[in-house]
């Protein structure tokens, strides 16, 4: 139940709260502000002035070019676009199929099977790293695009299954039986009836899993090493180690660039972000 929307408070305490909130908001924006300010400086300008001084140069484009090409953030960025979209999409498709088997076709042992898959959400990531690394080395999946796509699809699957299974089980069985009478096949029913009905959930899931894969550091760092395969956050972390002491503006630009897709998604889909957060909280 959502309470009816109440008007804004107008008392003196409300105004005091607004002032305090404004100051705090300013404090929250300050770090970003100074990072942007220093990210546009040329290397020389940066070395000469203090971290607080206003930029005397505008080297944003050359800093971007440097971070993208010389420091090799570019390949990581493109890789992560692929990993995040393909991984999230694969997880949703695979989960939709599984949710159909569990919630609609009601296979024997559905609950146990669900629980086995869902248990993939409870372990800290450290539980997977060593065996994955060893297995990836011995099967040739190490440092390959396919290896990362498979892993990201796998780790996104349990939560997608949880949400889609819940969604599918709220859809009344009469819908399916009517379709069956009309001669619709089993895959047809999933494709034409269940998936469209679950598309709002699927959209939020895609957004959330995309963001998660995009932001992943630890698996990218463990399962890939070369600049042409590793994802964006692993590239950024390396960059900080290699260039962090020498070309600060370029590293700051890289950190800001690496956040562009998720920040853009955030502004477009703010509402869904909050919805996704709520999903997480109850999941």
């Amino acid at each position: 139940m959502v309470a009816p929307r109440r008007p804004h408070r107008r008392s003196p305490t409300a105004w005091a709260a607004t002032v305090l909130a404004s100051l705090l908001a300013l404090l929250w924006l300050t770090p970003l502000l100074f990072n942007v300010m220093n990210a546009v400086k040329s290397q020389r300008d940066f070395m000469q002035g203090s971290a607080l001084s206003w930029p005397h140069s505008f080297a944003l484009w050359s800093n971007i070019a440097y971070a993208w090409t010389t420091a090799q953030l570019g390949p990581g960025f493109v890789n992560s676009l692929v990993y995040a979209s393909v991984g999230a999409a694969t997880a949703i498709v695979v989960s939709a199929l599984a949710a159909y088997a569990l919630a609609v076709l009601r296979i024997r042992g559905a609950f146990v099977l669900f629980f086995v898959i869902y248990s993939g959400t409870i372990f800290p990531f450290q539980m997977y790293l060593i065996p994955l690394y060893k297995a990836y080395l011995s099967t040739g999946l190490y440092d390959t695009h396919l290896g990362l796509i498979l892993f990201y699809s796998a780790i996104a699957t349990p939560f997608c299954l949880f949400v889609l299974r819940n969604h599918f089980s709220t859809i009344t069985p009469e819908v399916r039986e009517a379709a069956q009478l009309d001669g619709c096949s089993r895959p047809g029913i999933l494709w034409h009836i269940y998936l469209p009905l679950a598309s709002p959930s699927a959209a939020v899931l895609f957004l959330f899993q995309f963001t998660w894969i995009w932001n992943d550091l630890i698996f990218g760092m463990t399962l890939a090493s070369s600049a042409s395969v590793r994802p964006v956050m692993a590239a950024l972390a390396t960059l900080r180690g290699v260039y962090g002491g020498t070309d600060v503006p370029a590293v700051l630009v890289a950190a800001l660039l690496a956040s562009v897709p998720t920040v853009v998604l955030f502004f477009i889909l703010q509402r869904y972000f909050i919805q996704g957060l709520k999903l997480r909280a109850v999941g």
Binding site: A3, T18, L24, Q126, Y128, L132, S259, K278
Partner: protein, 312 residues
Amino acid sequence: MKALPYASTADSHIAHLVRRHRQHSSPLAAIGPYLYLAPAMILVAGFLLYPALDTAYLSLTNAHGVSQPKFIGFENYAAFFTDPAVITSLENTLVWVIATLLFPVGLGLAVAVLVNRIPGENLFKSIFYLPYAVSLTSTGVLWSFILSPYGVLNAFLGAVGLGRWAISWLIVPPANTYAMIGATTWQSMGTNMVLFLVGLKSIPAEPVEAARVDGAGNWQTFRSVTWPLLRPFTAIVVAMAVINSFKVFDIIWVMTQGGPYRSSETLAVTMYRDAFVLFQSGYGSAIAMFLSAIVISLTVVLLRTSLREEVA
């Protein structure tokens, strides 16, 4: 084949018969439904569950580098007690847990109450929530610059005449851990604020107004009406924050790599260093198991709490 619970109408009865006919018409039909489950099961079993089980096994061996692992029982676990790296790491992890409750969570609640129903609420909400869209890795890079010896913070301290407070924030323990907690607070306070705001909006107006009519001040109203009604939300936010703070890794790896001299490691970082820098995979697995035991028991507590709240 289960009986249909709603088999009263002729239509659904026919549907039932049609389905039965289909399911028994070919041998493939019996395993058909399982094929839908297969891709998910293969992915999860192969990439998550098998590795987790293997880690459990490795934790009982002396696996390191390339040599053949030997079974050594619980020796790795026993070694925790005398390993200064693990002891420091456990202490730091507890500092992270407590500080996470004070700052991202406590401040999140305070800011939620502050901005609830004031003019410009949505703008404030977006500003505080925005850093959450910045990844922890980027946050780590950006804050490393702010906290570096010639970074923004020290320049600011110098400018306002507090230059003697300026230190190498990421080098000196325990300041390095506190500095990283600060960066994390900046990144994650907004998510807690958003969840608390959802909670505040769900509180009905009547009890709050009744308390005000009875002459209760702001603080009294909050303490005796809002806070108890917010409890289910608080329970979830606190549990999520505690579980996440046990798992903190990215920001530390980027900002200090757990150093200098392993002074700012948490359990997740210690595991990574032992396994992938020092190549002690058996020992690293044991740390992973220890961390999992903590996280999983907390998750069980969370699930039980939230289930109980739902029933109540």
